[in-house]
């Protein structure tokens, strides 16, 4: 290793994250789901803005997005669009989810599903199947974090050691401070990522063109690689159908950590305020994408597209910027890995183990904290060490499946007639179709496999719901009091004076 500054800066980031995470506990007891799981519902709008922003920006932004720009061009911007639409979903659903917690005592997503559909089985199923994608995601981010440390140390810190270094750091502050640690560290990571991305992007553009903006980069690209400026992109594989279906599937994937973020707000207003401004956070992607475009000229013969930003940094940037990039990328990876580990521990304990063994609320809260260790030691760590080639496939199936949960959320937020049988039928059919169209016949007609799943899932869900028994009036009344408080409860009254409102 010729230059120690990048490694020292990256390790300094790990130390600061650890310090912040441990301190986040304050004087709070962490043996309840309310505290360890959702931080006592205490987070204000600024922390929520950074938490939601950083949580959705993974190592993909610092590695994958520049890689996509380098290999495909503008198709990478579909990420910016779907993340903005996720904010619209958060704006509408977030305050209602928060009220579920405040009025009905919910903590996890599966708990709300179980309660709404009067089915602990559906709740447990939600918990387990959402975990498939969550675990794959946590593993991928851990691999990304370990890879960064390996590169920054010039191979001095081996990949396997780095996995346990990263997981060990997360485990310490996650166990001690739970969701409070996630809130504080993600806020720090979110701010760091903004600074790093814009510094690196503007510096790289200035070095290539002499301007402190990106215009010169794209003018050059227009002259030499014009196909990179339009769909279907440089590789010709981002059709309009795939662009559209990818955005739709991604925006309707309600992930467990996102649900917990909403639950952790100090008020419904805080969620609305932070969600309203959240799309502006995603400008963070733009400068990193530009770094990828610059790589087209500077590093035309890369073996791996997703290393373009790091390679460019090592070849052309001063050590302090390399260190910043290392810290920023590690922040992105850790800020995405930790909420998935935390959320999985929480939902497995609350929605699977507790109903099975009839645990008390207090015992459940205690157990959830300890469950992060087996999850890391037996699943995330070993799978990350194996670095399986088909992990992306597992992740895609997992995320495709997450989208298949859409009927459950339609039932929660907009359609009281939705039944558990309808959700189960739609879910099963949607999952099978998604799995087949991911593994066996990938994305037929250029449409995302998850979208094919929804095409089968949604009509089946509606048809079966219409002919099966809905949840009891008492249960629906509790949910309708939150999602549509001014709606008359009887059908006849509703026909006379419809005063319900979706966007209120």
């Amino acid at each position: 290793m010729s230059e120690p500054i990048p490694l020292l800066m990256t390790l300094a980031y790990v130390a600061v994250a650890l310090w912040l995470g441990v301190r986040a506990r304050g004087s709070h007891r962490m043996d309840s789901l309310e505290q360890w799981g959702v931080a006592g519902r205490s987070m204000g709008p600024v922390v929520m803005y950074l938490l939601m922003g950083a949580g959705s920006i993974s190592a993909y932004t610092f590695m994958g997005a520049p890689g996509w720009a380098w290999s495909k061009g503008v198709p990478v911007f579909y990420v910016v669009i779907y993340l903005s639409y996720l904010a619209l979903i958060a704006w509408y659903c977030g305050p209602r989810v928060w009220a579920f917690g405040a009025r009905l005592g919910h903590v996890t997503q599966a708990q709300a599903v179980a309660d709404r559909f009067e089915s602990p089985l559906l709740g447990a199923l939600t918990s387990l199947v959402m975990s498939i994608g969550a675990m794959a995601y946590a593993v991928l981010q851990t691999i990304g974090a370990a890879y960064i440390l390996e590169v920054m140390s010039g191979g001095l810190l081996p990949f396997t050691l780095n996995i346990w270094l990263v997981l060990g750091t997360i485990a310490i502050y996650l166990f001690i401070s739970g969701q409070r640690a996630i809130g504080v560290t993600n806020a720090f990571q979110g701010g760091l990522m903004l600074i790093v991305a814009w510094t690196i992007g503007l510096w790289a553009a200035h070095r290539l063109t002499g301007d402190w903006w990106f215009g010169g980069v794209f003018e050059r690209l227009r002259d030499t690689h014009i196909d990179f400026l339009t769909l279907p992109g440089g590789l010709g594989d981002m059709s309009f159908a795939f662009w559209t279906s990818s955005i739709i599937v991604s925006m309707f994937s309600f992930q467990q950590p996102v649900w917990l973020q909403w639950m952790s707000a100090d008020s419904a207003q805080s969620i609305r305020r932070s969600a309203s401004w959240l799309p502006t956070y995603y400008f963070v992607i733009l400068p990193m994408v530009v770094v990828g475009f610059i790589g087209i000229f500077s590093l035309p013969d890369l073996e791996r597209a997703d290393t373009v930003a790091l390679q460019l940094a090592f070849q052309q940037m001063p050590p302090i910027l390399v260190g910043l990039l290392g810290a920023g990328t590690l922040a992105a990876a850790m800020s995405s890995s930790e909420p998935y580990i935390h959320g999985t521990a929480l939902t497995w304990t609350r929605d699977v183990i507790r109903p099975l063994f009839k645990l008390s609320e207090r015992r459940t809260g205690q157990l959830a904290r300890y469950l992060i260790f087996p999850i890391m030691l037996l699943i995330v760590g070993p799978v990350a060490m194996l670095n399986p080639g088909n992990l992306i496939m597992i992740l895609l199936v997992g995320l495709g499946f997450a989208a298949q949960m859409l009927p459950a959320f339609i039932g929660l937020f907009v359609w009281p007639r939705a039944t558990r049988t309808g959700v189960l039928c739609g879910l099963s059919a949607g999952f099978i179709v998604t799995a087949l169209f991911t593994v066996v016949w990938p994305n037929p007609l250029g449409v995302h496999a998850g979208a094919w799943g929804l095409i089968v899932n949604l009509p089946l869900f509606v048809a079966v719901s219409r002919v099966t028994r809905p949840a009891s009036d008492a249960t629906l009344a509790r949910f309708m009091a939150i999602v549509a408080p001014r709606r008359p409860t009887s059908r006849s009254a509703g026909e006379r004076e419809p005063t319900s409102s979706t966007i209120t």
Binding site: S84, A87, L88, G101, A114, T230, E361, W415, M480, T502
Partner: protein, 93 residues
């Protein structure tokens, strides 16, 4: 129990729902064809500029909705310290 789909009933609610849908449709085919040209706008490819516009439009429509449609009191005044432990817990007992 009224089982019908929950929809906006006020003019404001309907108008804002239409705006939300407009912003969403702007990012999808066929609207995205409008931006699929190899021209630069403010130094960015048209599709990148379109994405930035969608970011601003998403924020704009939510800020407008915050002003026109405040959250109902059933949500804003829900007190986390008085969470019902009865019905919400009943399913797994």
């Amino acid at each position: 129990m009224n089982h019908r789909l929950i929809r906006p009933a006020t003019r404001r609610g309907k108008a804002l729902l239409a705006l939300f849908l407009l912003v969403i449709l702007a990012g999808l085919w066929p609207a995205v064809l409008l931006a699929n040209h190899a021209v630069l706008i403010l130094g960015l490819p048209a599709l990148a500029a379109w994405s930035c516009l969608i970011i601003l439009a998403s924020t704009g429509v939510m800020l407008l909705a915050n002003r026109l449609l405040p959250l109902p009191t059933s949500i804003t005044q829900a007190d986390p310290t008085k969470a019902a432990s009865g019905p919400g817990e009943r399913v797994d007992e």
